[in-house]
Symmetry: C2
């Protein structure tokens, strides 16, 4: 078999390439400079050695060191946890030495059909949200939302749905502590999200977290109602009252209409979950192309998942618009190293069993692939978890890597469309924001066709280039913002995936 058909070398000089298919032991691959023989079975997406590496030698992929050989490596060897480790890689931090401002393509500016809210913000969906202050009102909120599923909404075609935002906290907490503030920021962000056209806030009554902490007049909603179970006479009475209140909101919300809005008002949230050996070479860099396009048009794009950036942060600090922005990122990484240590771990623990099975060996390798989502644009700002994202440009939000917690923070920040890349098949949805699922490989797309919006495996086996695929993703972002349903919206995902970061080690 020809080497080029079986193994992808990502940059000249890399000592490893990526297996494009399962390579049985003994397979002989013929390249320009001779043959190599596969030593032991190498699964698709895993790394194949293309050169010799002595113990302690750096091993490169993407032209970047991803670790050091921990055993002698010969061409044709499977390179993974048994012979590759992080070693003591030194990183040299520079600020602003690699700033790039992508230029907008010539031609008319793209627009999307969105909802212009009274407070000036731009929505891409038209939901009614039921926000809970405490777990004690979670069941009640869901009972109310359950009354508005199915045909009952057929008479209100402009209403995307009624959803309950429930969580496990809101009492038994230390008011004013970092953990409490994070919950308050998250609820505040959702209550003010431009995709909520109306709000019902449901509490128990005696909880610590009072409504005033996360609700003020700056909401996007045209109607805001509140009720507590203790004042309403119990659960059944609250459900009846809530259903009646929402019944009155429906015609109001349904009367709102989409209108053309400039592309620069999109806030794109980006995330990856269940990564594999293809994430960093198909879906993530293709999304990076789309992100750069959005930034070029004056829009906002949000990179997140701090633990997954660990090891590649020096590439981001070089792109920072100022030393202050670069230093902010490094402060958050230092905080994370402490936080992980307190929890008994290290940031290097991050590749999950699934990630490793997919062929990713070190967190650095995974990070280089993860940062590829952010394209090449300069880094304009760093914000805390769930804080309002003010663009334009590429913004970094400090979040865990764990998907539901990370995406909850990003949506709280105001993302009105999300792109989520996955190799193993993560199925996250994040109503009230639409989530576009980008699969990294064609096998996944065939196996879970109803859970993936775009197959990025075409970069490997469909002959499509990254620039072309990135353009297609950008077009899909605009269509989705204008109302096209994503697979996870068809499944109504997002209620159970609303998981505010509860501080205490969640990496």
């Amino acid at each position: 078999m020809a080497l080029a058909e079986a193994v992808l070398r990502l940059a000249p000089g890399d000592e490893v390439g990526v297996a494009l298919r399962d390579l049985p032991a003994g397979t002989v691959l013929a390249g320009a400079h001779g043959e190599i023989t596969i030593g032991s079975h190498i699964p698709q997406g895993h790394k194949v050695a293309l050169a010799d590496c002595g113990v302690g030698a750096p091993v490169h992929k993407y032209g970047q060191a991803i670790g050091e050989a921990t055993a002698r490596i010969a061409p044709g060897d499977h390179v993974h946890t048994h012979n590759l480790g992080m070693g003591a890689l030194s990183r040299n931090y520079e600020f602003g030495t690699a700033r790039i401002s992508p230029a907008a393509p010539a031609g008319p500016r793209p627009v999307f059909q969105g909802y212009r809210r009274a407070n000036g913000r731009a929505g891409t969906r038209n939901y009614i949200g039921i926000v809970t202050s405490v777990n004690c009102s979670a069941s009640t909120a869901r009972m109310i939302a359950d009354q508005f599923r199915g045909p009952v909404l057929d008479a209100f075609p402009n209403v995307d749905g009624v959803m309950a935002l429930t969580h496990g906290s809101g009492c038994g907490m230390v008011l004013g502590s970092e953990g409490a503030e994070v919950l308050v920021r998250t609820l505040h962000g959702y209550a003010h999200h431009p995709n909520f056209a109306a709000l019902l806030v449901v509490g128990l009554g005696c909880e610590m977290l009072q409504t005033e902490r996360f609700l003020d007049d700056a909401v996007s909603a045209v109607a805001v109602e509140r009720l507590t179970i203790q004042e309403s006479g119990g659960i059944r009475a609250s459900v009846r009252a809530g259903v009646e209140l929402i019944g009155k909101m429906l015609p109001l919300v349904d009367g709102l209409q989409r209108e053309p809005i400039d592309v620069s008002e999109l806030v794109l949230g980006m995330n990856c979950g269940g990564s594999d050996g293809f994430s960093g070479i198909t879906a993530n860099p293709a999304l990076g192309v789309a992100s750069d396009l959005l930034v070029a048009y004056g829009g906002t794009s949000v990179l997140a998942e701090t633990p997954e950036v660990f090891g590649a942060e020096h590439l981001l600090t070089r792109r920072a618009v100022s030393p202050a922005v670069g230093e902010h990122l490094l402060r958050r990484l230092a905080w994370w190293q402490d936080y992980a240590r307190q929890g008994g771990g290290t940031l290097d623990n991050n590749p999950s069993p699934g990630n490793k099975a997919g062929g990713l060996t070190t967190i650095l390798e995974k990070s280089l692939g993860a940062v590829a989502k952010a394209g090449k644009a300069e880094l304009s700002r760093v914000v805390e978890y769930a804080a309002p994202v003010t663009g334009p440009g590429l913004v970094f939000m400090d979040t865990p890597g764990y998907d539901p917690v990370s995406v909850t923070g990003i949506v709280a920040g105001g993302a009105n469309v999300v792109c989520f890349t996955t190799g193993r098949g993560s199925v996250l949805g994040c109503r009230p924001a639409p989530s576009i699922k980008l699969g990294t490989n064609t096998e996944l797309y065939r196996r879970m066709p109803e859970d993936i919006d775009i197959n990025c495996g075409v970069v490997i086996d469909g002959g499509m280039g990254l620039e072309e695929l990135g353009g297609a993703i950008f077009a899909r972002i605009l269509e989705t913002a204008s109302g096209r349903q994503t697979v996870s919206e068809e499944l109504e995902l997002g209620q159970d995936e609303f998981v505010p970061w509860q501080l205490g080690t969640v990496t």
Copy 2:
């Protein structure tokens, strides 16, 4: 008005009593030793001074010091946070100096109609459980459970329901850390709960927490099935597969029959939430009578909520069966003081705004009332959060006070019936265990009649004594264990209230 009609003094010599009704300023109360005049409005349930207290003097209720006067107090004054604080109360720890083994009443031993499981355990309900390993399968699990609500179960009268156990974790965690072990223990406890007659375990596929960690052959279930979204072809395919698997379980589970089981196989979980000034004088001591009866018959009763015991732990150590048990309790309290400090709080922060509005001033006052649930029986054992409770006797489980987290731990430990006391109107349910809601006052019972099972306000205004009410609660526990539905079961509560303790400060 007569003093005795307006104010309840709980022990002779107490400097404060409890207002049995709202007392406007200027109300004159005539007692055996003269008149007192109410200085400012005192809400029902709040404390009324019956004697003078100088600054720094201890203030007694229940014959126990509940704090020190922080301002001069005169008879008729409202006593609350403005003139009462914890001060520097010293506690003297003794072990086993106050052991009491309640004796079983004469007559035949009570039995309940329960489900005898193949592994020997005794169930009080017959549920099918859908257990999730990670948040990524939460929506899928709920979609499956949703297919078995309503009339579809009418053909299976012995099946109590199909419920999904979802949570926000399962990935992005440090395997082997305390936090991960707590989640594993919780899922293990539910997967082995005798109220689950059959189990379906749903995962995503690539998560860190693998099924083997919380599932083994010692389950109570007659059928155990597993599926992962990634292997099943996505969410829709998983829902179809899950619905089919549960469809096959239904006749099997429906064929199981209740049979007489000795009262000693009951494991009673106890909790309080939204406490008020009546909790410690009506519902809690009445539950204490029922708990002592169960212990007398060789059953098991579980006290929990460590932060709410703080301040009254010296009363529990005196009841410990051994110094080791008493020291175990003190070690957990010391751990909690650290944990609270790390979170920026102290254990004295615990009374919530709702508790304070209800008339509880200090954590010590609240703790004395909380511990009243445990009656007078000796303390036989202390167990960690969500660990298997092995009786017989009174067991203390180390949990937060926050209701859903605490009760989740207790049910994980194997409680097959729960009693929950509330003054403000907490509405917690905890399927698969039935939860009997005990209201502390008649006004609550009138305001939220559909959310309270038993009105313990009759101790104040219905002429019923604590012993009589405790006997009635004990009888209701047996009826409930035998199948009588509680108000929270009628509402199907328990899916959203399953909240495993995520370590990180939750007091």
